[in-house]
């Protein structure tokens, strides 16, 4: 009985101390107490994106500005669009910045993504040896260009990695109703940089995004550009299962907002004489 009383009074005392500790702390920092812990918890978000946005240097240019303004750190995982979307589906990323419209729409339709926006676009080029052995320069559209390459059986290197560029290339073959033959059609299964390198080594053709192509110095020439089917639109999508909705939305607002759009348009002008990306923000 005596024991119990001692324990109870000890508990009461500690409870009292605890309470007084709490109440004595609160008045000291009345305004900062509420928002501060929230900010500390979610200061970092994961952006899953394609290799092209990182390899071109766009993110290195944009993200520091965003991080400084918002105090949110952005961890970039640069992978193929296929894997980027998978990262979103599995909830391993908070925001996606990718370029494969069909897969993006599916991602949203399946309920994995919300708040999808157009951000920017650039072009795809068909590049090949400067002497153009397949005569691609004579034709007007990407479809015809692929037809020429197939007809002459000049080596064509596909990324074959399910990336945005890869999907675009496959859709052009389908559009041209050509089933590429393994004897001249090689699937490298690697990123754009490696594939361009291989194309140069093998004197072959490939489809490349503008940004990666311009940032590499290779002996390849652009043999086809400007066709409508070679436009390469990028989208930014929030992952629905993300626990950092607010921060993710801030990043999206930055990319699609006036300042972000202006910065995107300017990016690359100094080094390449023209912007690598054309801003076109629009809610889908």
């Amino acid at each position: 009985m005596k024991h119990l009383r001692i324990v109870t009074s000890f508990l009461m005392l500690s409870l009292f101390l605890l309470l007084s500790a709490c109440s004595s702390q609160t008045p000291q920092q009345p305004s900062a107490a509420a928002p501060a812990p929230e900010k500390k918890e979610a200061k970092e978000i994961t952006l899953a994106t394609t290799t092209s946005t990182q390899d071109s240097g766009l993110l290195d240019y944009l993200l520091p500005i965003f991080e400084q303004q918002s105090a949110i750190k952005v961890k970039v995982v640069a992978v193929g669009t296929g894997q980027a979307i998978k990262l979103g589906e599995d909830g391993n990323a908070d925001v996606l910045l990718v370029h494969a419209r069909k897969s993006e729409d599916e991602f949203v339709a399946k309920g994995f993504g919300i708040n999808a926006y157009d951000v920017m676009y650039n072009q795809f080029y068909i590049v090949g040896p400067a002497d153009d052995p397949a005569g691609v320069k004579q034709v007007q559209t990407a479809k015809e260009a692929f037809g020429k390459i197939a007809e002459k059986k000049v080596t064509f290197i596909s990324r074959g990695d399910d990336s945005g560029t890869d999907k675009k290339e496959k859709s052009i073959w389908t559009e041209a109703k050509i089933k590429p033959d393994n004897s001249w059609y090689l699937s490298s299964g690697q990123g754009m940089g490696e594939t361009l390198q291989m194309t140069d080594e093998k004197k072959a053709y490939t489809l490349t995004d503008e940004a990666t192509f311009l940032s590499r110095k290779l002996n390849l020439a652009v043999v086809m550009q400007g066709d409508k089917s070679l436009l390469n639109p990028y989208g930014i999508i929030q992952v629905k299962s993300s626990t950092k909705q607010e921060e993710g939305m801030k990043l999206i607002e930055f990319f699609t907002g006036a300042e972000g759009q202006k910065l995107i348009g300017q990016f690359g002008q100094k080094d390449y004489g023209k912007g690598l990306f054309v801003p076109n923000a629009k809610k889908r």
Binding site: Q83, N182, L186, S188, G189
Partner: protein, 220 residues
């Protein structure tokens, strides 16, 4: 992932490239290692130190060097070897030969005293003596083969760089796993990884059986 024809093709190429490079590595590394284990000469220490260093060569470094050598703009560009299975074999030979040489050297060195005098007193020629000692040291040499095989078949950096992971041409198990992972097919990547593990297990089991038999026969 089912064991479709494409997957078999990848497994088959992996085995072809690896066994070729291990065989070439054995042909070059075993005699060289045996020579180093048996004879001493000025500068041997340096060579031994170099071999031990090369046993741990980073595969990507080998990949870059072989890439530059074989590149169309490189010194061996005219052979048109880059992005072929041959290029992958070349890179792997560079990786496994020091392993074969180093482990053979260690194995031979440990047997040297016991057999050298006997073989010599029986009137063996230098070549015969070398063969005798290699035969006596085969347990250690086999473990060198196992190490080389394991290194070669699981290696990815060099074969990716010089082979290029081209479907139906230079895609091997490790590079296929990278591709599957990059495209989000983790299950397929994992399954290929298990196949890789199973092959290593089978190969090492064969070696083990061989070594066990040898030990038994020696006891008799």
């Amino acid at each position: 992932m089912m064991l479709t024809q494409d997957v078999w093709e990848v497994i088959w190429l992996s085995l072809k490239v690896t066994t070729s490079s291990v065989l070439i590595g054995m042909l070059a590394g075993i005699p060289f290692g045996a020579f180093l284990g048996l004879y001493s000469f000025p500068g041997k220490r340096l060579i031994v130190a170099l071999i031990y260093t090369c046993m741990g060569l980073p595969p990507v470094l080998v990949g870059v060097i072989v890439y530059l050598l074989l590149s169309r703009y490189g010194p061996l560009g005219s052979f048109d070897l880059l992005f072929s299975a041959k290029a992958m074999i070349i890179a792997q030979v560079v990786l496994v030969t020091p392993i074969m040489a180093g482990l053979t050297m260690a194995a031979v060195h440990s047997k040297e005293r016991a057999y050298w005098e006997t073989a010599k007193s029986l009137g063996a020629s230098p070549l015969q003596m070398m063969l005798t000692i290699i035969r006596e040291a085969r347990g250690g040499i086999w473990s060198g083969v196992a190490a080389a095989f394991g290194r070669a078949i699981s290696e990815v950096g060099a074969v990716m760089l010089v082979g290029g992971n081209i479907e139906h041409h230079t895609r091997v198990m490790t590079t296929a796993i990278i591709l599957e992972t990059r495209t989000g097919n983790f299950a397929a990547g994992l399954q290929l990884g298990l196949v890789l593990l199973a092959i290593s297990f089978l190969f090492n089991s064969f070696l083990m059986v061989g070594m066990m038999n040898q030990m038994k026969s020696r006891r008799r």
